[in-house]
């Protein structure tokens, strides 16, 4: 399969954004227009006058990618070109579920025919690992650091896929860059469904999470295998498919200990209790989705 993201971009070794963008483009195909809000992916792929994109690509601002996508879609319709290109928005977790929340909500409520892929690496990586609404419980970031009286981020992740389901989106899916075929197939399905569709891709960041650059895929897979990141599809509001873990389910410690951002949980007094709380979050996913 042809890669529509050229090598030679400025992503880190083991970069999750590069993998996610490549897989999303494999799913969407070359007849697409990409809208990319501000973030690592934008910065590392388009230092003027260079570009890594072999598809038409537009970056406007941090918080407006879904609105820009709405405008591209409307223009294609008005100019009679709607069948010539899919509209694919790709943004990070901050751009999607924090600062871009109004924009994506408006675009989905209006029912534009576009696919939004959230590449979720669970913090503001481009600016130096500050917490976002997608940062998981007890993760240490530069603005939610662990300290003498803190275990790090004291809130669970915002459930963005559920919010998009609530918008009446015909298709919402979670995926992970640890499972490329899963991601490619879900993006392909999403772009082929008419209306606003949403794919939320879990994407471990070597720099921000603190693991070896060779371990991106392993960490991604472990998030799924512990039940912390369930993979499922929701069509017309109903869960239609879940990736089962079955007997191979792993304790959350196996995931947490791979990453520097959770290191304090293994050294601080009271850490075991905190890990138990994270295990409870995984258990709830296992129960709700029948993992």
């Amino acid at each position: 399969m042809k890669s529509l993201l050229a090598p030679g971009h400025r992503g880190c070794a083991g970069c999750c954004d590069a993998m996610a963008a490549k897989f999303a483009l494999m799913g969407a195909g070359e007849d697409c227009i990409v809208i990319n809000p501000t973030g690592c992916l934008e910065v590392m792929t388009t230092p003027y006058p260079e570009t890594a994109w072999d598809v038409p690509w537009v970056h406007s601002l941090f918080e407006n990618a879904a609105a820009v996508g709405s405008g591209v879609e409307a223009a294609l319709k008005a100019l009679g070109k709607a069948d010539k290109a899919k509209v694919l928005v790709m943004g990070g977790d901050g751009a999607t579920l924090d600062i871009g929340m109004r924009s994506i909500s408006g675009a989905f409520e209006r029912g534009h025919d576009l696919t939004y892929v959230c590449i979720d690496n669970e913090a503001y990586m481009n600016t130096g690992v500050q917490r976002s609404g997608a940062t998981p419980f007890n993760a240490s970031t530069t603005t939610s650091p662990a300290g003498k009286v803190s275990f790090g981020n004291d809130r669970p992740k915002k459930n963005m896929p559920a919010i998009m389901v609530a918008h009446g989106a015909p298709y919402v899916a979670t995926t992970s860059i640890g499972y490329p075929k899963d991601m490619i197939n879900k993006v392909k399905k999403a772009v082929d469904i008419e209306g606003p569709t949403y794919v939320h891709a879990h994407a471990p960041c070597t720099t921000g999470w603190g693991f070896d650059t060779s371990k991106t895929v392993e960490v991604a897979k472990m998030a799924v295998q512990t039940g912390l990141w369930p993979l499922y599809e929701v069509e017309e509001g109903e869960v239609t498919k879940v990736r089962k873990i079955g007997k191979n389910i792993r304790p959350v410690e196996d995931y947490l200990k791979m990453q520097r951002r959770f290191k304090h949980l293994f050294t601080m007094e009271g850490g075991a209790e905190e890990i138990a709380k994270i295990q409870a979050l995984a258990n709830k996913n296992i129960e709700v989705y029948g993992l």
Binding site: Y48, L61, G80, K84
Partner: protein
Amino acid sequence: MAPENKLDKSKMVVVEGSYAVAHAAKVCRPNVISAYPITPQTHIVEDLSQFMADGEIPNCEYINVESEFSALSALVGSSAAGARCYSATTSQGLELMHEVLFNISGMRLPVVMTIANRAVSAPISIWNDHQDAISQRDTGWLQLYAENTQEISDMTAQAYKISEDKDILMPSMTCMDGFILSHVYEPVVLLEQDLTDEFLPAYEPEHVLDPKNPLSFGAFADPNYYTEFRYLQEQAMQKALKKIEDVANEFYDVYGRYYGGLIDEYRTDDADIIIMAMGSIVGTIKDVIDKLRDRNVKVGLLKVRSFRPFPVEAIKNVVKDAKVVVVLDKNISLGLNEGALFTETKSSLYNTDIRVPVVGYMIGHGGRDIKIDTIEKIIDEAEEVMKTGIKIESQFTDVKEELL
């Protein structure tokens, strides 16, 4: 010598200013309209929505966005995809667009947007002044101000022609005074479809988002490149100075209507006192000038149509032989105690041989009525300046001392 305005009275109809603007936008054949309702812009977008509902705007999509921020953001995508784009807003909506304004201009997307000028909160006020648009002065948008509903309507077509020119490619705000023009019913010639098709060619951008020829829009520029982007925007603004004049003349050739290019003049030939202003206040000033001319007061008007680009040479040329220049501003730069037109007029004259005194009046904030008496009093004070020099350089007008 300015062309004579040949207004065909047989073609005139009495409509609301907002309707005239909406009709003009329709006649310009936009492909994407994206807007969010805000007083006093609402009637424009309501009329456009009705045109859409009645199937009167072919090849067009109307996006009912969830905010002004998204209204303009959507047009980044639409314009980059090759669509002719229109929006309208005012006041808080325009301020909310601030970040996107820079973005559209920096990406050289020729969007046209009508501003129904309104004061800015706090305190919240729905009434007219120019603080909203003036506050967006440095965002890289052309800012054109209209005197009446005929001019703002016709200015829509002019703005597209200027903005979409390959040497310009900068967005335009066409500014009309909120309520005073947006909600007034007066006779106008609605922008003619057949003449507009002749005047305004179809929008055919060189660079579009197209899978057959993938291009990247909106890359980031490091210090090796950023300066040149800004420089080229300023070059485009300087080219727009001539383009605005040319387009006003071309418009006259096709439609027979003319309101000035960068500026317009009224009884300035022998004027000792030149009043400068923008927008609907110009009509009031003309009435006062006629009255005072009967009393042999040598006063004339310099109407500024283009605030960006700023018409330095045109202004210098008009005021060079005057004895005093009086600038009226419906805005203030807090901390300087001056309105923007006043500051920039002074700046245009500094480092030149022109030594005319310039005084400024900030007037009509938050929709306060500007009366004929007030203008007369200002002109009386200008006569004093001629005799005794400047006593107060810049001041508020009609401040109610009892409320302070």
